[in-house]
């Protein structure tokens, strides 16, 4: 449905996006995961034609975006990160207006607005001015405004940012429903949980570069056989470089004065790894084993936590 091939964008000396490539198949939710400023919004802006890439190309249903931008836009719905809505208008009026801009006739726009208000559980507030809505309700209208014309490809730029967990859960549930109906979705987020639970495939992006992509399990496998250990201890001046053969058996993901996060190298028995860690020449306080999260993958790729 969507193929992004080596797109780049620089703003002066800053390379916001650097040779990013990925694709989204039909009925798939592809997550672009990265911290603020990683290049997610710039990528989406290039995909939807707001920004012209300095290099690379975007293909929609196999055709270059630049060949027929009008047709490409008709296939897409975009939900921007900010609430791009009119506060003075009601929820219904906002939906109908964006439906008209998307090319629907007035009657069609009215019908679709009614359907979406129902689907978004906002029928009872349809006639209220948007400025009286809660943040979560505005987010739902913001999402709905991209759906009036039944887009085949939906671009969602952090659609749940800044709202409470309950409102977020409702939106995520709605998005899962869209996917079930066959809509392809490019979803950007900096929330690990959303990427893990919602997306079939995830691309990790930082400083404008796509560092890794794959399914959740494929990404986890990058950290050895899925064994990540957290060692709490008073390390003082002691360093893994001084512990004989440690580097061959463990990859250091992060180290601070009191905590060391490591991944086992190769296929290892967890109990062997545990014994070796317990034998480290430092006063240990705790050693724990966990399945690697996306945060650990990000940690391994960038040397810092996604939440930092």
């Amino acid at each position: 449905m969507l193929k992004v091939s080596g797109i780049s964008k620089a703003f002066g000396a800053i390379r916001a996006v650097d040779s990013v490539s990925f694709h989204v198949t039909e009925g798939e939710i592809y997550g672009l995961l990265g911290p603020n400023g990683a290049g997610k919004t710039t990528t989406i802006s290039m995909v939807c034609g707001l920004l012209r890439p300095d290099a690379g190309e975007v293909f929609i249903q196999g055709k270059p975006f630049s060949a027929n931008p009008g047709e490409a836009r008709r296939l897409m719905g975009v939900t921007p990160q900010e609430l791009a809505l009119y506060e003075e208008l009601t929820g219904r009026e906002n939906l109908e207006f964006w439906g008209r801009i998307a090319g629907l006739k007035p009657a069609e726009a009215r019908k679709r607005a009614t359907e979406l208000l129902e689907a978004l559980s906002l029928t009872d507030r349809a006639k209220d001015a948007l400025k009286t809505y809660s943040g979560g309700m505005k987010r739902r209208i913001n999402l709905g405004c991209a759906l009036l014309h039944h887009p085949k490809l939906l671009l969602l730029d952090e659609p749940t940012v800044g709202i409470d967990p309950q409102a977020r859960a409702r939106i995520l549930e709605f998005i899962v429903g869209l996917r079930a109906a066959g809509t392809s979705i490019l979803y950007t987020t900096h929330y690990l949980e959303e990427a893990e639970t919602l997306c079939q495939r995830i691309g990790i992006i930082d400083h404008g570069k796509l560092l890794a992509e794959g399914t959740l399990s494929q990404l986890q496998e990058r950290l050895g056989e899925g064994l990540v250990f957290t060692v709490d201890a008073d390390f003082g001046d002691s360093s893994p470089a001084h512990w004989g053969g440690f580097a061959e058996r463990f990859r250091v993901l992060q180290k601070s004065g009191r905590q060391l996060i490591v991944a086992a190298v190769g296929r290892r028995d967890p109990s062997d790894c545990l014994k070796e860690l317990l034998a480290l020449p430092v006063p240990l306080q705790n050693v724990s084993l966990k399945r690697p999260s996306l945060n650990d993958v990000f940690l391994q790729l960038t040397g810092r936590q996604l939440r930092e």
Binding site: K9, F11, T42, S45, C48, G49, L50, L51, R52, P69, G70, R73, M76, V78, P80, E82, L83, A84, L85, Y86, E88, L89, E93, F97, W98, R100, I101, A102, G103, A129, C145
Partner: protein
């Protein structure tokens, strides 16, 4: 789609009317203030009100009596309200702001004048007032010119006149002088009594910009008499004020594009539509609606307030509409060029002032420095509007070409703004 976009903007304005009401109340306020300053509600169709001033006669001669009398006789009595006071009393009333000025006729004025010596009339203006003292000063200059003219042409008879005025001549001598002077005046009549201010109804040449200013009207020649409306100073002022104010109002209305930019709705539109022109054009139409309302308030409201009628309302309306469209196009370009509303406002205010001043909206163009009045002003759209609208007071010639030029510039501005926004989006500048 244009309809949907325009309906959206009008609905938003309707739901949040305060900013627009404030903007539209400004022309009412400006018109009302001018009305109050000039006594526009007095019912006097000339609307300036009578100018109250003191005459301090320190000469007490028959010639001074003649000047005193002339100040409130006939037509002058409609405009002037002289009071005759001693100097101290007059100065006190001036301080109390009861007078616009004091005219002092110095001692020995008549005898010095009639003996050809230099004489000085003194005018003390009230510094708290602007217009009335200035009008009196102009009138005094006319009187001085007339006295100088008399002095040059009747110099040979002045000694005899002096004898008569000082009571030393007999009635026979006085009768002879009057007859002799009358004959001279009769001979000089055609040179002495053309109307001071007049107009012609001939159209300005096609390549010369029209100008309805009082000065230029006076400078034309040809037939003077026709049943055209009297020149009205408020109509003249209103046109200039409207030219400037409509630019400012267009700036306010067009600034809504900046709001659409920062709230992301303009970008959202672009995710659905490739061409930006409809969005900018719809905002321009919205601006035209708002600014046209402002224009109607100023021009039609001013007509009611100052008791005059625009002689050619249809032509004036079409010309104003073209100017409104130009103002909209100009402001669309500045919005597209400026990164935010604050900076755009600053630029627009400066532009409006400069265009209005240099375009002869605030002052008659021939009062401006020659480089501006003669060379720059005719190139400015504000001049095309103001000068043509003023010319419409006198004739209906050549309003269409300025209107067409204004409309074309407006359309160009809107198209240019759409192009600039497209480039701006492509560069990622919001």
């Amino acid at each position: 789609m244009l309809r949907a976009l325009l309906a959206k903007d009008l609905r938003r304005a309707w739901r949040n009317p305060l900013p627009w009401l404030l903007n539209l109340s400004l022309p009412i306020l400006i018109t009302a203030v001018i009305g109050m300053v000039f006594g526009g509600w007095s019912g006097n169709d000339n609307s300036l009100g009578r100018i109250k001033f003191a005459v301090v006669d320190q000469d007490k001669s028959p010639l001074a009596d003649f000047l005193r009398g002339a100040a409130n006789q006939g037509k002058a009595g409609q405009y002037l309200e002289p009071v005759f006071l001693e100097r101290d009393a007059a100065e006190q009333q001036l301080k109390d702001e009861k007078l616009s000025a004091i005219l002092v006729i110095p001692p020995h004025f008549a005898s010095n004048y009639l003996t050809g010596r230099n004489v000085q009339l003194e005018l003390v203006k009230n510094p708290a007032e602007q217009i009335h003292p200035a009008v009196l000063e102009e009138l005094l200059q006319v009187v001085v010119s007339a006295l100088n003219g008399l002095s040059r042409n009747f110099n040979s008879e002045f000694p005899a006149w002096r004898e008569v005025i000082e009571g030393r001549g007999d009635y026979h001598e006085a009768a002879r002088l009057i007859e002799q002077t009358g004959n001279k005046l009769q001979a000089a009549r055609k040179y002495l009594f053309p109307p001071l201010v007049g107009y012609t109804n001939s159209a300005a040449p096609a390549d010369a910009p029209a100008d309805a200013g009082p000065k230029s009207a006076a400078s034309t020649s040809g037939p003077r008499e026709r049943s055209a409306p009297k020149f009205n100073i408020f109509a003249y002022l209103l046109v200039g004020l409207a030219a400037m104010f409509l630019l400012l109002l267009a700036s306010q209305a067009m600034a809504d594009l900046h709001r659409e930019l920062w709230q992301g709705t303009f970008e959202r539109y672009h995710t659905l539509r490739d061409r930006l022109l409809p969005f900018v054009a719809a905002k321009a139409l919205f601006t035209v609606v708002i600014v046209s309302m402002g224009a109607a308030i100023m021009l039609a409201g001013g007509q009611l307030l100052f008791h005059f009628r625009w002689p050619r309302p249809l032509q004036l309306g079409l010309l104003t509409l073209a100017y409104v469209w130009f103002a909209t196009g100009l402001m669309a370009v500045t919005v597209a060029l400026m990164p935010d509303e604050r900076r755009a406002n600053a630029l627009n205010n400066v532009l409006s002032m400069v265009f209005s001043m240099a375009g002869g909206c605030m002052f008659p163009p021939d009062q401006l420095p020659a480089a501006v009045g003669k060379h720059l002003a005719p190139l400015l759209p504000t001049y095309w509007f103001a000068a043509t609208a003023r010319e419409l007071w006198w004739s209906d010639a050549s309003w269409f070409i300025p209107a067409a030029k204004l409309a074309a510039l407006g359309a160009l501005g809107v198209a240019l703004a759409a192009f600039l926004f497209k480039r701006r989006f492509e560069k990622g500048l919001r």
